[in-house]
């Protein structure tokens, strides 16, 4: 039995049966990180002492016969843009190197209440801007399936850590696909919840109206279990949804018979790799076999989502990243006056992609351009959302590719525009605020995993999980493991 391969619910069974202790489980993962992370390079910070302390506390509870939660004692990783009190939270940027937040993100507080075990903080594209994790200021993370490929991004460290069994699950963030695309590239499951379902308090903002925190895990049940822990209203986040939250595991076993599933044509064809398209169609036909009605549909404004996104996200980012001025925390480059201190600090603290997006956003918001760019983008955003609203009057969910291709090769991603286009399948979801789930579904001609994406209207995560679960239970294509010889 390889413990590190198991899921949350499988490990939970072992823990409560006392077949393994939380400390053993944690040590096993820390040991794997020590041995294997030099190949994957997922972790920026390993918090081994803390992890062992947290595990020990769970073991004490177990020894005392106390009931433990589903996530208790399960070792996991956290994207380095979620604030962890007293532990470096760098956003993979020189700007925040050494920055130890004075508070915990709400999701971390929630996990703490569940007796979680944090192995460490994982790599990402700097300030979550990128699709390859090559924009990390520190090092590149490798795809566990093929070290010559990127793990995707921006939550590349999260996806790679789960795929390489260096964490049972991970928390990432998704602004334009940053959970789903790396999940697809690394063959794990990733969910971007409905905007407002998970508190953003403590998530270092990239684009506030698009950012959501979400889980990456090894199976659908695990995703549901993590959502049970991290979702919910938070009075510290004014955009948090104040509503009843479901038990996300409740719908898993329900039949999808009679479910109406749309297959938007704009997400197929030109620009989509043929192997990827084939697997999406295969998944759709599997769903039909399972009793769902699948039919082609149309989301006519899909092509405009990318340009709208590349105005809205940089505009918000240019404002969100203004606070890194060297005064209160993070990097400070000394200079003769305040203005040059600001400019020098930001010049040396930010990498090229971050600077590019700040410039783009500043330009889009400048007087004289606001109406033509930013305001126009907000209107287009509404059109994109209306497309979905209409579609969801006819369909319970939609099925699309997660990304146009499988994992990209490393070191060949210089043209920003080409890279931006790799997010075309995930970006519209963030603009509309709806949930999106990426599920592995087979591999391409090179043996790299393919992700299919399920989209639903706001707060229908249970339906997405239900569809994903029924695929998972009825095929062998969703639980894939990297070829250990070829990979790490």
């Amino acid at each position: 039995m390889t413990i590190s391969r198991l899921t949350i619910h499988e490990l939970h069974e072992l823990l409560i049966k006392k077949e393994i202790s939380a400390t053993e489980l944690t040590k096993e993962h820390l040991d794997r990180i020590r041995r294997l992370d030099s190949n994957v390079k997922a972790y920026i910070t390993v918090t081994d002492e803390l992890a062992l302390k947290q595990a020990e506390a769970v073991d004490k509870k177990l020894a005392a016969g106390e009931k433990i939660g589903m996530l208790a004692g399960i070792p996991m990783s956290v994207k380095d843009n979620l604030c962890t009190e007293g532990i470096q939270t760098s956003c993979a940027s020189r700007m925040l190197e050494g920055f130890k937040p004075q508070y915990n993100a709400t999701v971390l507080e929630k996990l703490k209440a569940e007796d979680f075990v944090m192995l460490g903080k994982v790599n990402m594209d700097e300030f979550a801007m990128g699709s390859t994790t090559e924009n990390s200021a520190f090092f590149h993370t490798r795809n566990p399936w093929n070290p010559d490929c990127v793990p995707g991004g921006s939550s590349g460290g999260s996806a790679a850590s789960v795929a390489a069994d260096l964490a049972v699950y991970s928390l990432g963030s998704d602004t334009g696909g940053s959970i789903r695309q790396p999940a697809a590239f690394c063959g794990v499951i990733g969910l971007k919840p409905t905007y407002g379902a998970v508190s953003r308090f403590g998530l270092i903002a990239f684009a506030s109206s698009l950012d959501q925190i979400g889980p990456l895990a090894k199976d659908v049940t695990d995703i549901a279990l993590i959502m049970n822990a991290i979702s919910g209203y938070d009075k510290k986040d004014s955009t948090s949804a104040n509503c009843n939250y479901p038990d996300y595991t409740a719908s898993l076993n329900k039949s999808i018979k009679g479910m109406r599933i749309g297959l938007p044509k704009e997400y197929l064809g030109e620009g989509i790799d043929s192997d990827v398209e084939a697997q999406v169609l295969a998944a759709a036909s599997k769903l039909e076999d399972l009793g769902a009605h699948v039919e082609e549909c149309s989301l006519p404004h899909t092509r405009y989502a990318m340009p709208a996104y590349y105005l809205i996200a940089p505009a918000e980012a240019s404002s969100n990243l203004g606070r890194y001025d060297g005064v209160r925390y993070g990097l400070r480059v000394q200079a003769k006056d305040v203005a040059s201190m600001f400019c020098e600090t930001r010049k040396q603290g930010f990498g090229p992609e971050v600077k590019r997006r700040i410039m783009l956003g500043t330009y889009a918001l400048s007087s004289g351009y606001y109406d033509a760019y930013y305001l126009k983008a907000l209107k287009v955003r509404n059109l994109v959302k209306q497309d979905y609203d209409k579609a969801f009057t006819q369909y319970d969910c939609l099925i699309t590719p997660t990304a146009p291709t499988t994992a990209l090769r490393k070191g060949n991603n210089q043209n920003p525009l080409t890279l931006y286009k790799s997010d075309i399948c995930t970006i519209p979801t963030n603009l509309a605020g709806i949930p999106g789930l990426s599920l592995p579904y087979g591999v391409d001609r090179n043996g790299m995993p393919i992700g299919v994406q399920l989209l639903g209207k706001a707060f229908t995560e249970p339906a997405l999980l239900q569809v994903a679960y029924s695929l998972e239970q009825n095929t062998s294509l969703t639980r894939l493991k990297p070829n250990q010889g070829k990979g790490i």
Binding site: L82, C83, I204, S318, S319, G322
Partner: protein, 481 residues
């Protein structure tokens, strides 16, 4: 050439909430630097704002008191600029959809009545405080930043460019200050910085319709500096125009000690705030019934109060004007009036003794030790003849210092007026005996001698003898001799 001066004001008013606008840190003044600070107002990465409901309530109340329309739909925006006193490199403010608009204040100057338009009122957060190491911002070697004030709630009140003289501006600010103070949403004290005024001033040749280029002047911390800066700027701009130059649109700062303004930044920089809707705050939707509830909670405004004091209480216009200029004074007056009927006597004491003491000792009206009921009691003691007016002033001084009851002070210091005839007769006997010359003079028809004798008795009684009674008894005594 003759020029007409055109002035508009932007007034920042600090709201009197217990906590900051977007977090639960206290707004209290004082305290060690950076101790009224939390992750939110420190702008730590990942933190988010949540609007203090009281701020909305206060902004609406101010708007209603200033005759504004209240927006049913309002939202927050980010005003982006870099400055070390700003923790996020943006100020959360309101741009195109402020909470209030289209109001006015009616003012009165020597030239008559005039209506000054209020363009808008919006909610926003204050910045931190910079302490310059050195004398001024321009000569300082470096600065220190304290974020205790960062996130304190403000409303910015923007007037129309309706004012044409320093006198009108001062009258506008006085009225505005009184109205805001009446609503109870702010102390509105310029000296303490809870009311701050920026002045926009331009000149145009008399008869011209288009406005000239304006300068915005900041850093005015008293009504006196507002008056001075307006005169200074008029002179400065006239000089420029007369010598064929052009006024530049810019922000200038007032140096109180030098009595002049300096350019801070030109328009090109200051105009690029890159406003956009604040994604972290949902819009604010205000229902009619909520507005009406707040309207009902508003106290009487200075104008109505003044009219009522004149018509119902029978006070002279002058007295009513002075008392209504300050809400605290009106409250004091009203409270005394519920215990004591003679309005004019109350106003005499307020305008005389009370304000003299307050001004001399620089005490805030809402921090008075003397209570209105005590003031009423004092006036009643004078009316009933238990103390003289002169003693009353002495007692008042003591009350002002200590907050003690007038009765206790009088008893403790033995200041009761002596009207007891037996006691007074004994004193009269004594004085008549020791001053035979004056008695003779009186007998000889020199009535002046009577005054002298009364004075002697008053002196002996340390001012406590009732002068009217003494007069009667003394004349009786002398006539019987």
């Amino acid at each position: 050439m003759d020029y007409e001066v055109v002035i508009g004001c932007e007034v920042h008013v600090e709201l009197k909430t217990k906590t900051k606008i977007f977090c639960s840190c206290p707004t209290d003044f004082g305290g060690e630097p950076n101790t009224h600070v939390c992750p939110v107002c420190l702008g730590l990465p990942g933190t988010l704002p949540v609007l203090n409901k009281k701020v909305l309530e206060y902004a609406i109340k101010a708007g209603l008191a200033l005759n504004c329309e209240i927006a049913q739909f309002s939202k927050f925006d980010r005003k982006n600029y870099f400055y070390p006193d700003l923790t996020k490199a943006y100020q959360i403010s309101q741009f195109d959809l402020p909470i209030c608009k289209n109001g006015y204040i009616d003012i009165e100057t020597d030239k008559g009545k005039k209506r000054i338009g209020i363009t808008r009122i919006h909610m926003e957060e204050d910045a931190g405080k910079l302490v310059h190491q050195g004398n001024t911002i321009t000569t300082s070697a470096g600065s220190l930043v304290d974020y205790n004030r960062a996130g304190v709630p403000l409303i910015e009140i923007v007037s129309e460019p309706d004012m044409r003289s320093a006198e009108e501006v001062v009258e506008f600010l006085n009225s505005l200050k009184a109205i805001i103070e009446y609503t109870g949403v702010s102390d509105a004290r310029m000296e303490q910085g809870s009311l701050r005024c920026d002045v926009n001033l331009s000149l145009r040749p008399v008869g011209q319709i288009e406005f000239g280029t304006r300068a915005e002047i900041k850093n005015l911390n008293s009504f006196r500096s507002v008056e001075r800066v307006i005169q200074y700027e008029i002179d400065r701009q006239v000089d420029i125009l007369e010598s064929g130059g052009k006024v530049i649109q810019e922000t200038r700062t007032w140096d109180e000690s030098k009595g002049r303004t300096y350019s801070l930044r030109s328009k090109e920089d200051s105009d690029e705030y890159r406003y956009f809707p604040e994604p972290d705050l949902p819009p604010v939707i205000v229902m009619e019934d909520y507005i009406e509830k707040l309207r009902a909670e508003l106290p009487e405004m200075p104008k109505e109060k003044r009219r009522r004091m004149i018509e119902k209480d029978g006070l002279p216009e002058y007295d009513a004007g002075i008392i209504t200029a300050s809400k605290a004074l009106v409250d004091f007056y009203d409270a005394v009036h519920t215990h004591y009927g003679d309005a004019k006597k109350i106003s005499n004491w307020i305008m005389g003794e009370l304000l003299a003491k307050v001004n001399a000792e620089g005490i805030e009206l809402n921090a008075l030790k003397i209570q209105p009921e005590q003031m009423a009691a004092l006036l009643k003691l004078v009316d009933s003849g238990e103390i003289s007016g002169k003693i009353a002033k002495k007692v008042f001084a003591e009350m002002f210092e200590t907050g003690n009851n007038p009765g206790d002070i009088i008893k403790k210091q033995g200041l009761m007026q002596i009207s007891d005839e037996t006691a007074l007769k004994t004193m009269i006997e004594q004085v008549v005996e020791t001053n035979p010359k004056s008695v003779e003079d009186y007998k000889a028809g020199k009535t002046k001698a009577l005054g002298f004798l009364v004075g002697q008795i008053m002196k002996q009684s340390r001012g406590q003898a009732n002068p009217a009674v003494i007069n009667r008894l003394l004349v009786e005594k002398l006539n019987s001799m």
